[in-house]
Every structure is written in structure tokens, then in C-alpha cells.
Symmetry: C2
Subunit: 281 residues, 2 copies
């Protein structure tokens, strides 16, 4: 059982990881080796003390260099569920279970609105994880919505399995596959009773599909970890970054505005210290 599991590799997650490493805690850190699309896309960062005006990519290079310097390792798996039970956390990442005494949520914030029907049909044809559920759609026709280039390898993985992929990225895609149709249209509604049957687009077209994969930078907290207290889609935390679940802390954009790197970094630090205190009691 780990002392802590950190979910998310943005500035908040990195800040937490640096502190847990210093305190020699036994932790695993789930995220992306690219750390954060949001950082990468930032045009100019002028208000992070110590690093005067730099581009998002430059800032990201600094964070990555620090991570390597500190000997931190990221486990590139997608966390889809966290269950709090019996005073410990069971974390499901790419269909494998990991157990920990504490958890730090640095999961970012879902900017886009969910599609109509998405919540209702989650687990019934709607999936947030290609690695977890891709096999279920072998030889089938699926829709994939995606808001970050870092998930394109998951799209390719799905294309290896599915017979046909209707792909709706929010950016310039690099995927080139015979069975992948890229569209700039935007899925707005998912239909189906017991299971997904079709998806309706902004253009009012409805296309029959067997499943819908939503590959997004962030996940709604209440979907990730049932029982967590939220307010306006943000995780409610106290000044120690503790959530309502004992041992569960949060940091960064998922806890609310302002959505700022400096805030995320500060909160990641405090959350890590919260974990350290919690483990000591």
C-alpha cells in the first residue's frame, strides 16, 4: 500500500510530488510525461515569480528539467476511478488497482460542458479510457471526442481495434488512418436507452455508434471519486487543501479559480504537507 497516490501532472501535481519526494514518502504519480497541455499551450507566463516572462513551452521545459533533477517518475496511466473505503483509497488506473493511504487530486478542471446523455450513459457505451475499455469495441463503430494532442496515441490504439472511428478533435490532428474519419463537427448529445446507440452533432446530424470515448484533460471530480464534495464543479477544500474525505487532498485548478500556475504550485505544496501530517497521525 502506497503512502500516497498523486493524480495529475500539472504544476500542482509536480509541486506535491517534489515535497513527498523530499520527505521520502512512498508514492506513485499518475499523469503524462508531457506534464500538462495547459502549460504547453500558454502563450506567455509573466506572473510566476522567479521566471520572468516565458512561453508555456519554455516553462514546461523548466518543470521537466526540475522533475528529472529531482529523480521523479511519472506513471503514464489514466485514472478513471477512485474509491474510498475502509480508511484507504483504491485507485483504478488503466484497469489496474492501486492502494494508498492518501490521495492528492491534481486533476485540473473540465472547461467544456459535458455532452447531453454523457453522464447517464457512462459505463454503458461512454468511456473515458481507451486502454481500459478499447477491447470492448473490437470490430465496432465508435465516436471519439478529444481535447488534447497527448491522447492521440489512445485514438490510434482505438483505431487498431474498432472497425470505424469517427474522430472529433478540438485541435489539428496528426492521426492518419484509413478507418479514422476526422471531423470538425462537435458532438453535443449521446443517445441510447440501456446502451449508447448514436451521437448527435452540432450540425444536427445523428450518427449511429456503439460507443463514445471522451479523451479529455480533466475529469469531473464526482465521476472520478464518488462522495467527494464539490461546489460549481470544483472540489471543496479547506486551508490545508483537505477535502471532505479523510486523507484525500486536492490542488490546482480542480479546487477553483483563479486558474493560475502559481496557485497550483502553492496548493500542491500545502496538499503534500497535509498528506505528511495525515500520515503522521
Amino acid at each position: 500500500m502506497y503512502d500516497c497516490i498523486i493524480i495529475g501532472s500539472g504544476p500542482g501535481g509536480l509541486s506535491a510530488a517534489l515535497n513527498l519526494k523530499t520527505y521520502r514518502k512512498d508514492f506513485i504519480w499518475f499523469g503524462s510525461k508531457d506534464l500538462s497541455d495547459k502549460v504547453m499551450k500558454a502563450e506567455k507566463i509573466a506572473n510566476y515569480p522567479g521566471l520572468p516572462e516565458m512561453s508555456g513551452t519554455k516553462f514546461l521545459e523548466r518543470l521537466q528539467a526540475h522533475m528529472e533533477n529531482a529523480g521523479l517518475e511519472i506513471t503514464e496511466k489514466t485514472v478513471t476511478n477512485v474509491v474510498y473505503s475502509g480508511g484507504r483509497f483504491m485507485v483504478l488506473a488503466d484497469n489496474e488497482f492501486y492502494e494508498a493511504k492518501t490521495v492528492i487530486l491534481a486533476i485540473g478542471v473540465v472547461a467544456a460542458k459535458l455532452m447531453e446523455g454523457e453522464e447517464r450513459l457512462l459505463g454503458k457505451g461512454v468511456s473515458y479510457c481507451a486502454t481500459c475499455d478499447g477491447m470492448l469495441y473490437a470490430g465496432k463503430r465508435i465516436a471519439v471526442v478529444c481535447n488534447a494532442p497527448k491522447f492521440e496515441h489512445e485514438v490510434e490504439y482505438l483505431a487498431d481495434l474498432a472497425s470505424e472511428v469517427l474522430y472529433y478533435p478540438t485541435f489539428e490532428s496528426r492521426v492518419e488512418r484509413e478507418n479514422v474519419t476526422i471531423s470538425r463537427d462537435v458532438p453535443t448529445k449521446i443517445q441510447g436507452e440501456k446502451r449508447v446507440t448514436s451521437v448527435t452533432l452540432q450540425s444536427k446530424t445523428t450518427v449511429p455508434v456503439d460507443g463514445v470515448f471522451c479523451l479529455r484533460n480533466a475529469i469531473v471530480p464526482t465521476k472520478l471519486i464518488p462522495g467527494i464534495r464539490v461546489e460549481d464543479a470544483h472540489v471543496v477544500v479547506d486551508r490545508q487543501m483537505a477535502t471532505n474525505l479523510p486523507g484525500c487532498f486536492a490542488a490546482g485548478d480542480c479546487t477553483g479559480r483563479p486558474y493560475q500556475f502559481a496557485k497550483a504550485v502553492g496548493e500542491g505544496n500545502v496538499a503534500a504537507h497535509g498528506v505528511i501530517s495525515f500520515l503522521a497521525t
Copy 2:
């Protein structure tokens, strides 16, 4: 009337200033051009994301470079009083009044315990500001306690005025004056009924003095700004870094543990955004 007055030039104050500058707010920033003794004295900082392992002096250089790059200016005055009245703040700095709609307290934390009698005799021979009260002790004998080299110019200023200065620094002093006696002893108690009459040292010696100057890195919040809500000597803030006084925000060590640069930076950012929202309403 300023939009905001920032008190304190540690990482929290700098972070706040960077953000108010970006938003083109009309603010004045009180502190030291050396920014922060606490940063300077840090042996190694390993957990500030983006700047792998560096000494406090190196980190300080980074902060100063950023400050200059951003065109920020520090006003080197000591704030001794903040009065909230009629929806605005009157800030007393080196005996001059400054008026503002909002205030950000980034005043650090008082690590040392106050001396016995210090609180009772404040304004009755006990002073926190050489520039403000030095003239009152022309030709007299005073004691000076000091915990940061940056205040040594104030000690020299006092030596110009007083006939005799009993000086108790907590560090290696560079002051060389005929009328200054440097001692490693530690004042623990101040005596006097209506006014200061003497000070007692750890060595049990009691020396008669007319006044006691306490030149410290931080000031007790309730002494600085009457009516502010504190808990265990820390300013009580909500998640927006707002205090109980409308328009008064706080950031950094003064709001509580962990005493970390990353936390201070994050809170300075959030406090500035709180100020910006407050001014907009």
C-alpha cells in the same frame, strides 16, 4: 487613493505585485529592496517548481531580476499601523499616511516570542520603527533588539540620535559606533509603569533605558491592524485569501503553515485576484 497597498516584499508580496501590475492597478508596495531575509538565509530550496535546487541567495537573485524585468518598484518604508475605517485603509509608513481601497498583508510571521511587557508598553517607550520614533530619543539611552541585517541602517540612524545604544542583534552585526554597545545577551522583559524604565536580560541583568526599539522582520498582525481576526498568531483567511475586514487580503507565512515559498507565491497570486475582484464590485 491607491487601489491597493501591498505590505511586505517576500515571495507572497512579489507574487501579488506581479499580478496587480499585469492588471494595471494603481498600487504602492512597501518592503525592502533586499526583498526577504528569510529567502536570503535559506540554505537550499529544492521544492520550488521550475527552479531546481538552489541556494536562498540565488533564488533571491531570480526574484529580484523578475521584479526589475516587470518594472516593479518597492517603497522602502516601515509600515507600523493600518487602520480600516469608512470602507478604506489608512496605512502609516514611516510616519506618513497612505490611503487605499484594499490592502494585501504579506507581513511574514513573528517567529520569536514577544518580550514580557512589550505589548503593554508599545507606544510608551516601545517602538517598532526607528524612522518614526527615533527623534523622541535624542540624547537618551535606548535598547535595540534586531533580528535582520536589513535593519542595521536603522540602528545607525538611532545611534546618530541617542546618547547610548545597547544593541542586541541575533546575528553578526556590522555596526561600529562609539556609542553602540553590542551584546549577545537577550532582552526578555521590559519594565516600566507609565513608560519604559528598564530592560531585563536573559543573564538576569537589568539595565535602565528610556526606550526599546524592536526591529523585526515581522509584526504581530493584531498590532499592525486592529480588528483583524487571528488564530494562533496567524491571520484568518478564506480560500480567496480574504480576511474578516472587507478589502483586506493576506498571503504567505502570516496566514499559517506550511511556511513555504511556493505557498506564499500561490497565495500572493490568489490575494491579488481577490483584490481585483473586490475592486470590480
